[in-house]
Subunit: 421 residues, 2 copies
């Protein structure tokens, strides 16, 4: 297709999504739940078809020379298919944010004002190889009453397309417009540009994938983006830290899973306690297979550490590597985090509540923690049920983006004939 | 200055604003209040200087051939100067949104999570001839802990510049960074483009002025915009309306002040009650100097009405003109509003609560009303104390934008050593 044809096709999808969003915005909770459950049923019923479609994608990916990790992300197994279906059923259990009264008050003239949640409208989701994002993101947008336009990775087109078909079947079974969930049916890269320009039909874009994708979306999107570019999370061990909490949190924050955005990348520790605490912590990290890159003071206390460069303080490893710096105290730790960090998630370990309060107030991140592992930075762990991602932007959504964050609101004003003097 | 020099100067302002915003974000409520009160004092103390600066602007505006209405907007009088000072003192009395806990809950693992309001960061305000916007917008941004970059109309440069100086004096007296309030000191039009591109230093843009300005900002801004392009508000008289409420609301919504965004532009009325109610309402409107443009049925009932064209249903007159259409009922009224309206403020007049609920749910506007005049669409009338404008966007702020809407939030998580299993 020519770029003009791609643009026209993407815009046609956008126009249908906008029309469907107006119907979906008024859909009853029970209809949305029925659609989610029917989609789960369709996914289970079509397991064999999904595996067959996925085999085509795997062949395409293999020919393209995808890495082993990428091929694993692309793979659908019976377990993964069941997990997608179960995920949709779990979303169906979430409370419906649409129609919730967020605030309500009465004016002296008797007007009663309510701030009421409404859907956002149309959400664009751009993702890479994992086909299950189709179900997760599509289901979450649907449950908040939004239409969604999905653009999966080119290598997962067959699998994702079939999953989207299952979601659309669910919509149809519930009497909702199928165009509330659409997938861009072409591998053409120009389609992404067309989607990102379509601010009249798309209210917000959610990119899911690697840094290259996020960066491109943030640069090119003509509408708001819910995303984080980096998850450069810090654990700061304050001089007033409980040694056992410091050890447990540092190890867990770094090593529980190194590839998630809430994994710690830098450990800061007060010089007052570094000699007693740091060797133990770094020995355990090292023993667990973590590479240590430290400043001079760290290397004095733990000679096996490699020398950290300036680059290390700004690097999200997403791997078994940690940068370690000994700091003068609270102020320097906050300064380091606010300068080098990515405003994602940062944690202080201390028994000193005054120091904790300063940290929680002054560290400018979406999530600030006291005596807890940064790996809790997750919508599920926050009790939101599910998340479509974590945002480090300050507009609209910040932190985990769950169904509530996929809504807007409006004011409902009830009077009995008031006119303005 | 060359475009490059303008860009460099605007970016230097942006960098200083960003740095100041980090200090202001942590400022105590009392310091911000002191700054606002000191600014009010400075404005009163410099009344003569303000009048002199304003005379230069009036001369510039006169030479430029500004209309009488524009010249009036530009004018500062002792009363208007006092009203600016009093406005700043009123903002100082508002409760500080920063630090407010919006939500709070505990997880089964004992983690306590709070969603806490924080400032947004840096706000850019672009406005036209009214110099008092300098004080109103600057004060409101300051009270929510944000830095602000002001770009006034070229004809008000001297007046606005001196008002900004008074605000900066207030900041200095309160020990806060003066760069939290900066004005772009050049008439160069290129400066607006530079400001709208500066998404790294400006978090949100608020345009205040005519349609041309808003449209340009919405098109060119590389950051979110809080604004409304049109305020095409409707009053819908349902068949179940109380006749006296219908009359009073229609007259007030249209005629109380015709130049504000909450003024009604279109009157819809059910055909069941049009013969009995419409002649009275239109006679009164007409008697008050309002031009009536009606559809065929309206003209049948009120022969003095001019014929409305399709264009009339989409026009925000901001004047003593009203478009009138007789509709079949609730469904057609909602359809008309959602198709022709601007998602700003729309009101139904009825004693039938079931019909009202359908209207309040299905009309997709920032503010929906039942038995109240659309002229209440105002932050002050909503009890927000003051507003920087009204937004019809769905992201972050919708409806009146007061201090709360000029904030973001973050999550504060407190534990006692929790690690993620």
């Amino acid at each position: 297709m020519s770029p003009d044809q791609v643009e026209a096709e993407v815009r046609a999808i956008g126009a249908r999504a906008r029309a469907a969003s107006k119907i979906l915005a008024l859909a009853k909770t029970e209809s949305k739940r029925r659609a989610l459950r029917a989609a789960a049923g369709a996914i289970r019923a079509r397991e064999a078809d999904l595996i067959a479609a996925n085999e085509k994608d795997l062949e395409f990916g293999g020919n393209k020379g995808l890495s082993k990790a990428m091929m694993d992300r692309l793979l659908l197994t019976p377990d993964r298919i069941e997990s997608m279906a179960a995920g949709l059923e779990a979303i169906a259990e979430l409370s419906d944010p649409v129609g919730q009264v967020i605030a309500e008050w009465e004016r002296p003239n008797g007007l009663r004002i309510q701030r009421v949640r409404t859907p956002l409208g149309v959400i664009g989701v751009i993702y890479e190889s994992r086909p299950n994002v189709t179900a997760d993101a599509g289901g979450l947008c649907l449950s908040a009453g939004n239409a969604v336009i999905l653009r999966g990775g080119s290598e997962s087109l067959n699998s994702s397309g079939l999953i989207a078909e299952c979601l659309r079947q669910g919509l149809a079974e519930a009497g909702l417009p199928q165009d509330a969930i659409q997938m861009i049916p072409t591998r053409d890269r120009e389609a992404v540009g067309a989607l990102l320009r379509m601010s009249d039909f798309v209210d917000v874009i959610v990119p899911r994938g690697g840094r290259g994708l996020i960066e491109r979306v943030m640069t090119d999107a003509r509408m708001p983006v819910f995303a984080h570019l980096d998850g450069l999370c810090h654990v700061y061990v304050h001089s007033g830290a409980d040694p056992e909490k410091a050890r447990a949190i540092a190890i867990n924050a770094k090593m529980r899973r190194t590839g998630i955005c809430g994994a710690a990348e830098t450990l800061l520790i007060d010089k007052a306690v570094a000699p007693t605490l740091l060797p133990t912590i770094l020995t355990e990290l090292s023993g667990a297979g973590c590479e240590i890159r430290g400043d001079d003071e760290t290397r004095g206390l733990f000679p096996d550490a490699l020398a950290a460069t300036d680059e290390d303080w700004r690097t999200e490893y997403l791997d078994s590597i940690i940068a370690v710096r000994v700091v003068d105290g609270l102020e320097q730790a906050i300064e380091h985090i606010n300068t080098m960090g990515s405003n994602h998630t940062d944690s202080i370990v201390t028994e000193d509540d005054t120091a904790a309060d300063v940290f929680l107030r002054e560290v400018d991140s979406a999530i600030v923690m006291h005596n807890a592992s940064t790996q809790f930075a997750d919508g599920g762990e926050f009790g939101m049920g599910a998340e479509i991602g974590i945002s480090t932007g300050r507009m609209h959504a910040r932190g985990p983006v769950g169904t509530e964050q996929l809504t807007s609101f409006r004011y409902v004003v009830r009077g009995d004939g008031q006119v303005r003097p």
